[in-house]
Homo-oligomer: 220 residues x 2
């Protein structure tokens, strides 16, 4: 059965999943790249970004990569919030924006972009972005159909993940707690009191300093 999975959702020790002051030049605001530094040396990132030949041994293969690599296995579609697709808000004034990822986005599958402002589908490389104004349950139904028996990835950002957690639609969640104190930004955990009672939770610390949490929905 299709599962809804979250991978590599990064959060600071004080619970912020992105910083304050997001823009084209600062996609994570004042957080900069501090939430993602554990990810850059991994084989998964190195091969995604085309620097495989340059990195020693093609990137690390340890625990961080083991979690990072799971992101791409068995996924047939993604759901993301509009904020992950780009920095624009409100009606689309500039449809020339084609996402952060250049002409070959790493999704290679349909992506449902949640937005209150629908617009025509956009095909970039092997990825089709579908802009839809849907409630979480409807978005999941659409993505499940598109995934053709594979799983659906919930790509974020934190506000979208929180909405799907509130609707109890998430089956699996991999969260990376990074030992920094951001102080401000978008909180992941707000409004999710007692979330832990719905999940089996395991924590694994990595030599890189981050802690990988796996949340596995109990009873399904």
């Amino acid at each position: 059965m299709t599962k809804l999975r979250v991978h590599n959702l990064m959060v600071s020790l004080d619970g912020f999943s992105t910083g304050e002051g997001l823009s084209v030049d600062a996609p994570f605001g004042h957080a900069g790249d501090r939430l993602a530094r554990w990810f850059f040396p991994t084989h998964t990132f190195v091969s995604m970004s085309g620097h495989e030949d340059e990195a020693v041994g093609g990137g690390t293969r340890g625990i961080d990569d083991s979690f990072a690599a799971a992101t791409n296995r068995g996924i047939g579609a993604e759901i993301m919030g509009r904020g992950k697709f780009g920095p624009q808000v409100g009606p689309w004034r500039d449809e020339s924006w084609r996402g952060w990822w250049g002409e070959e986005p790493p999704f290679h599958s349909p992506v449902v972009v949640l937005t209150h402002h629908a617009r025509p589908d956009l095909v970039v490389g092997e990825t089709t972005f579908m802009f839809r104004d849907l409630a979480p349950r409807e978005a999941l139904d659409l993505a499940t159909t598109l995934a053709g028996g594979l799983d659906v990835r919930l790509g974020g950002g934190p506000t979208v993940v929180r909405e799907f957690l509130e609707a109890d639609l998430v089956d699996y969640m991999h969260i990376v707690v990074v030992p920094i104190i951001l102080g401000r930004g978008v909180r992941l955990w707000d409004g999710l009191e007692n979330l832990d009672q719905r999940f089996a939770i395991e924590a694994t610390s990595s030599p890189s300093g981050v802690v990988h949490y796996v949340f596995d929905r109990i009873g399904r």
Copy 2:
């Protein structure tokens, strides 16, 4: 040189170090004992609470106990907030309250209780509670003198720890992140943006589900 150390400061995954609605019957409010459950099976707790003969093997000796036991080593004095001493606020209307710990408190050393309402010292068993209206730096100076060359423990609660962190007086901090979402209560990390830049931080996950963080002040 005397160090100021924090031990076993427990915090939920969403950053709350105590719950909402504290009272005599609920010292941690709606959090109940959920932040401390990892601690109860340890040898350190079992021997403190006088149940050593009952527990299998006298309590666990693994990683959780290894951290728990460090609390009591080399400490000559403690600083605590009034909220840790008892639930009363404002002027002392009832001086018969002698703390949560019965007639032999586990401190066995002087304890500086920070309060805006000074009152005479209180001797309970081997522990002397000294109620003082002092700024963090002054409290540390007093406790350092009392500790006679040993270290000073900063016993909490979270508001007091935060004040000492803001004043940059903490040398070592052991924090236990418990995989629960409390949703409300007293936050540990508020106002401490970029705290991580002053400390070397290491995380170690435990089979019990908690993660032990060690914060070691850089450069002293």
